[in-house]
């Protein structure tokens, strides 16, 4: 990219506008090792390093904390405890004051940070940590939620209740009823770059923190809070993260605070970079759930009423557990209309790490409850689950009737799930393969195949209304090159690229004229975390708004300068038609600069229409929905429970995609991540509350060889957002993740074959080979007992 090369002034289209496939802006740096992550930045001279002292019990009073040997260790400069936190010793993102930076008086989970060693090298800090003498008075620890009472046991925050109609009466009156419970495991983010922060002290109360965070504004506010300084003293910057997936929304704050506190105290740059084991032990994960369900239905398989309780393992503090539980309830319908529904969340306190945001944010867990209910109904009435799914869908947008209201009383106005499922059923040859699989299973003694097609409807918007706002800052320099900044963060999802495409489109200039810059709280304030799939929706709009302001000024300037009406100023590729003549964009900018036109603008956007009354459990919680469906086929070895995914087909709705190449990557990656969550990724705590799967040697995320042998992924080429989103595109970060459900249900289908599809396998997740084999054994026993 030669920035000095003249732009193509004859082009019919700009290079890199919206709805074009562009490579990730950093791809050439990713592949050559030149992309700079926080730990790759040149360290200021004298940079110190942090080692964290973690609790060795799950719950206890800190009887004595002897850090003298730690202090005396080689290379140690200082040791911090809660007493060294100048502001409030709390990084609770939900203002619950329950998330200490460093434990004070007691510890509430195995792995909770108690002290921080600051040393000349990271190795010296890590070695010194081990010399601490800490005595605990151990207290009884709650580890698992399975045996807790969702109504009576301690909760970390207020539960949510969604209610429409009289579910109890509807279930009671239904011809058939089923009541049961399922288990759904959590998930570690396993971002490849662990938590890392580098704090550089400034003058007076100032500090700059380079932090791998999805929410720079929140990191800024919480660092300020812990330092006891106003937010204007703290600048947080992040160019890129090595993956986030929700794990750096709130979980980055603790490391950032520790780095900043140490940097201010010692007046030296301080870096915190967690070792993988520490990262997995000390930072939150996707919530595991115990889902109680009762469903009333008729002999056809129509659901008449449902009652759900979603109990979630929150860990020791609230963090984002409230909203995560809420989103689970928001998705307890997935794509299905419930004539009557009661759904409750139970955010349970446990002595485990505080669970947090993870791609989907409770939504996928909610949907899995819905899909279990579908399976129960299907087995009860003896039909293919897909038939039951189709029977219970919301009304399609072309034929909206009474079956369009969600459990939270929002009308589903944009439902396209019917068309998506119909197209996928066709392209994946569902019916034919269903027959083939039956024939295969009849002839195969040990290997059984399974097939499933599952839908996804995912609500887009933060349910916390104030988060649905974004800012951007766009400068056009006198040479016509553009500097773009916004509040969103880059974690691999191609957000910066998409927003740059939007800006290029507004100015009608080639993409390489738009400079992508690091996200910093000093340029755009008070931003929402890059989460809830909202990055492009919100920041694209804000950047568009900024660009339009400048374009308007250029238009006004050109009209005045060339004495023509404003409608005769037209932005063409890399040039502007001004009446009868064309001026290059760069020349027009130069002229505008000389004429003292402001060429910088702050843009802003807030999502319209949305409102939400949590107390009532009613509102227009989502601006719109994203849809998709997945079909998976598996082979299961019934001797060991091991399996392979033979094939997966996905059809996903991104509206009018801003960049299909990027969106395809999101769909493929989301599916595999969802599949991992529901298959091999198992979090395992021992009876002392120690997470024993705290490294990739024991925690197994999918490999290349776990991909479906045949993998067909397509985006709908006909859909567009029902609402005026950025260029009618739809959010794509989270919605593809629950497509992994298709694999869980295909496994369940294979298991069901050992009992001739007469018994609902109730296969819990993650469906490890062990869970699959044990489900097979259970079904075989039930068949024997029934025979």
């Amino acid at each position: 990219m030669n920035k000095h090369a003249p732009s193509n002034l004859k082009a019919e289209k700009i290079v890199g506008g919206v709805a074009t496939d562009q490579r990730h802006d950093s791809a050439h740096k990713h592949v050559s090792g030149g992309a700079v992550y926080i730990d790759d930045m040149p360290e200021p001279a004298g940079t110190l390093h942090v080692g964290l002292g973690l609790s060795k019990v799950a719950h206890g009073v800190l009887k004595s904390v002897d850090l003298s040997a730690v202090r005396a260790a080689p290379g140690v400069v200082d040791v911090l405890t809660y007493a060294d936190v100048p502001g409030e010793n709390d990084v609770s993102p939900s203002n619950m004051h329950d998330d200490p930076v460093l434990a004070e008086g007691k510890v509430q989970f195995f792995g909770q940070p108690i002290f921080a060693v600051i040393a000349e090298t990271r190795e010296a800090a890590r070695r010194a940590v081990r010399l601490a003498g800490i005595e605990y008075d151990e207290l009884p620890a709650l580890i698992d939620i399975w045996d807790l009472d969702p109504t009576r046991d301690k909760q970390v925050t207020t539960p949510l209740i969604l209610k429409r109609g009289d579910a109890a009466a509807a279930i009671q009156a239904a011809p058939r009823r089923i009541k049961n419970r399922m288990w759904l495991g959590g998930q570690d983010h396993f971002y490849l770059e662990g938590q890392v922060s580098l704090a550089i002290p400034g003058e007076d109360d100032e500090v700059t923190v380079y932090c791998s965070t999805q929410g720079p504004s929140e990191t800024q506010h919480l660092v300020a809070h812990t330092l006891g300084v106003p937010s204007n003293a703290v600048t947080v910057e992040v160019r890129r993260m090595g993956g986030g997936f929700g794990g750096k929304e709130t979980q980055a704050n603790q490391c950032a605070a520790i780095a900043a506190i140490a940097a201010k105290k010692l007046k030296r740059a301080v870096k915190v970079r967690l070792d993988r084991d520490e990262d997995m032990t000390a930072t939150g994960k996707r919530h595991d759930f115990a889902i109680d369900y009762e469903v009333g239905f008729d002999d056809e398989g129509n659901i008449l009423g449902v009652d759900f309780t979603y109990a979630l393992r929150c860990g020791f503090s609230a963090d984002l557990s409230g909203p995560v539980g809420d989103r689970a309830l928001f998705h307890c319908d997935n794509a299905y209309f419930y004539p009557a529904v009661l759904a409750k969340s139970a955010p349970l306190y446990t002595n485990t790490v505080s669970n947090t945001a993870f791609r989907g944010f409770g939504g996928p867990q909610g949907m899995i409850g819905a899909e279990r209910v579908i399976d129960e109904v299907a087995f009860a009435v003896g039909k293919d689950s897909l038939e039951i799914r189709k029977l219970n869908f919301y009304d399609s947008m072309e034929a909206i009737g009474a079956r369009c209201v969600t459990p939270y009383h929002q009308k589903v106005e944009d439902c396209i799930i019917q068309r998506i499922v119909a197209e996928l059923e066709e392209s994946a040859s569902y019916a034919r393969r269903r027959r083939e699989i039956s024939a295969f299973n009849a002839n195969s003694r040990f290997v059984k195949r399974g097939l499933a097609l599952t839908p996804v409807k995912f609500g887009i918007s933060f349910t916390k209304t104030e988060s649905n706002q974004a800012g951007a800052l766009v400068h056009v320099y006198a040479d016509g090159s553009v500097h773009m900044n916004h509040g969103g963060t880059e974690m691999g999802q191609g957000l910066h690229l998409k927003v740059a495409q939007v800006v290029a489109e507004e100015f009608q200039i080639d993409l390489d004229r738009v400079k992508i810059t690091a996200t910093t709280t000093a340029k755009v304030p008070n931003t929402a975390p890059t989460a809830a799939s909202s990055g492009a929706d919100l920041n694209g709009m804000a950047a568009q708004n900024a660009a339009r302001q400048i374009r308007q000024r250029l238009t006004d300037f050109a009209a005045e300068r060339y004495q023509i009406p404003v409608d005769q100023v037209v932005f063409l590729p890399n040039r502007v038609r001004v009446g009868n003549q064309e001026v290059s964009f760069n020349d027009l900018v130069k002229q505008a600069y000389i004429a003292r036109v402001q060429l910088s603008a702050a843009g802003f956007y807030k999502t319209p229409k949305i409102h939400w009354d949590r107390g009532k459990g009613q509102g227009h919680a989502f601006y719109y929905y994203a849809y998709g469906a997945a079909c998976a086929e598996v082979s299961v070895d019934t001797l060991t429970g091991e399996y392979v995914v033979e094939r997966a087909d996905i059809l996903h709705d991104c509206g009018r995609s801003l960049n299909r190449a990027i969106d395809l990557g999101q769909v493929e990656g989301g599916f595999i991540q969802g599949m991992g969550w529901l298959t091999t990724e198992e979090l395992w705590w021992d009876d002392k509350g120690r997470l024993r799967t705290h490294a990739p040697s024991t925690y197994k995320i999918p490999l290349a060889s776990d991909r479906p042998k045949i993998f067909n992924v397509a985006l709908t080429d006909w859909s567009q957002a029902y609402e005026p989103t950025i260029h009618r595109s739809k959010a794509v970060g989270e919605p593809p993740l629950p497509h992994g459900m298709a694999v869980l249900h295909a496994l369940s289908d294979a298991v069901a074959s050992v009992a001739d599809h007469k018994i609902c396998p109730r296969l819990d997740a993650p469906a490890t080979p062990e869970r699959v084999l044990m489900a097979i054994e259970r079904l075989k026993k039930e068949v024997k007992a029934g025979a």
Binding site: V31, S32, L639, V644, E682
Partner: protein, 493 residues
């Protein structure tokens, strides 16, 4: 060969430059050195335990077949073990004018990176593969990438890129191919036959000149930490921060790196990597091939040794059970004294092996099953590849002419404190007709052989059940059923 010489520095080539290091601690890792000392920060730390592959670099070394480049994990590779090698990092791939290497360009064009953090590791693994096999099959790519975790892409785009690399450039024109002769010469010059000794007192490392030298050194310093592939000892350092000084590095040591066959017995030197050992073993004992494909990732197979897998005595090592079932024997050496014992007798109890101070595993001798006998090994894991066994069963069977069991050896990992024979099960089968009825009856005997544990990999119940079922699988397989009896990645869909 200047025998008896002692050198006080490690010498190797880093990308284009010669490096000589005289102050190296035994626990210094290649990754930290690259990032902290050399500011080569393209190589990333993802897990510091050799599992995620973000730190993948290539190591060129002189082998029996000439200069070979292999992917390894820099995070658990000790600097002291690099003497006489060529270290190639991602920074070495771009051309002089800054142009991307074919592997890199393919990854860019096919959207193979998202967050980009794992990407340099993928590039290096794919580079290693491409040099060996420019137009690899999907299965070969997947195998080469078993040790590389990506959390963003779902791998599909990376696979597309991998398939396209050959259309971006020719291996013959690659810089490493072009420099081959020069690098070979330079590496040969580094192999001066000297023993390397660095450090004193609490931090000391030794790289013996050859196997005899190692025997002498170890006999004198029996408390030293012996490091072959460092796929285990590496974690003692990065995770447990254990002191490994004095350390003796025996990877690629002359005299310990040979694979020979004599009279139907394959002898594998203790320094032979999985990759090298299995290139012979899989050919001679085809049933071992699928197991090899599921041990660690490519980087670990390029580093780890069978000698190490045996010597560390782990109850979940993947090679001892099949080797025991095959009737392997072990040569132990102390100074100039050698003894050879049945492998199964080596494992006494958890953490306790039949090895005297100063004694080391020199070689493993594996009899090739004679024609007509049956042999199989099955690994059961949570994730198919790059995972540690929940249980692993190995079966050797010789049938008499009348169809009765003339000889049977069944050995398991993950079922007891050591790799262990299923002697009651064997007893129940010996002399009986090899039928499903006999097998089912024998399956009841597992409970008297094993009392497995519950841990994060599996519950005791699952281990017991799966282990038992493996015998049934073996039976079905040996009786030549046409029906598919286990799922596999390579089986046509």
């Amino acid at each position: 060969m200047a025998k008896g010489n002692i050198r006080n520095e490690i010498r190797f080539i880093l990308n284009g430059r010669d490096v000589a290091l005289s102050s190296v601690t035994p626990d210094a890792t290649l990754l930290d050195w690259l990032r902290l000392d050399r500011s080569l920060r393209g190589t990333k730390e993802g897990c510091a335990e050799g599992d995620c592959g973000a730190c993948t670099v290539l190591i060129g070394r002189l082998s029996a077949t000439g200069l070979v480049y292999e992917s390894i994990n820099a995070c658990i590779r000790f600097l002291g073990s690099l003497d006489g090698t060529h270290v190639v990092t991602v920074e070495h791939l771009r051309g002089e004018a800054g142009q991307l290497h074919p592997v890199q360009q393919a990854m860019v064009d096919f959207h193979g990176s998202q967050c980009g953090f794992c990407t340099p590791g993928f590039v290096m693994s794919l580079y290693g593969l491409w040099m060996k096999s420019p137009d690899p099959s999907g299965a070969a790519i997947e195998k080469a990438l078993q040790g590389n975790l990506c959390r963003c892409t779902g791998y599909e785009a990376i696979m597309r890129a991998a398939h396209a690399i050959s259309s971006y450039g020719k291996v013959a024109k690659d810089p490493l191919a072009a420099e081959r002769r020069d690098i070979t010469t330079r590496l040969q010059a580094l192999h001066d036959g000297a023993r390397v000794e660095i450090g004193a007192g609490g931090t000391r490392l030794v790289v013996p000149a050859d196997a005899d030298d190692f025997a002498a050194v170890f006999e004198k310093e029996p408390t030293a930490t012996v490091v072959a592939g460092s796929t285990d000892v590496g974690l003692w350092v990065t995770k447990q921060m254990r002191d490994i000084s004095p350390a003796i590095f025996i990877g690629n040591l002359p005299g310990l790196c040979t694979v020979t066959e004599d009279n139907g017995v394959i002898s594998i030197g203790a320094g032979v990597t999985y990759t090298e050992a299995f290139s012979t073993l899989s050919k001679r004992i085809p049933a071992l091939g699928p197991l090899f494909d599921r041990i660690g990732g490519e980087q670990v197979r390029n580093m780890g040794t069978i000698g190490g897998n045996v010597a560390n005595g782990s109850p979940i090592g993947d090679t001892p059970p099949p080797l025991i079932a095959l009737g392997a024997r072990l040569t132990l050496r102390r100074g100039k004294t050698r003894r050879t014992i049945p492998l199964q007798d080596f494992f006494i109890a958890y953490g306790k092996q039949d090895r005297q101070p100063g004694e080391f595993v020199e070689a493993v001798h594996v009899p090739v099953p004679v024609k007509g006998t049956k042999f199989a090994v099955y690994k059961v894991t949570k994730r198919r590849d790059e995972d540690i066994s929940a249980t692993l069963g190995a079966f050797y069977l010789a049938l008499a002419k009348d169809g009765t069991v003339a000889d049977i050896r069944i050995a398991y990992g993950g079922m007891a404190a050591t790799p262990k024979r299923a002697s009651s099960v064997e007893k129940a089968l010996l002399g009986k007709a090899w039928t499903e009825v006999t097998v089912e009856a024998a399956m009841a005997c597992y409970a008297s052989d094993f009392t497995p544990l519950t841990d994060m990999r599996a519950t005791a119940e699952y281990r017991a059940l799966a282990a038992k079922n493996l015998l049934l699988r073996f039976y079905v397989e040996t009786t030549g059923t046409k029906a598919p009896f286990q799922v596999s990645r390579s089986e046509a869909a």
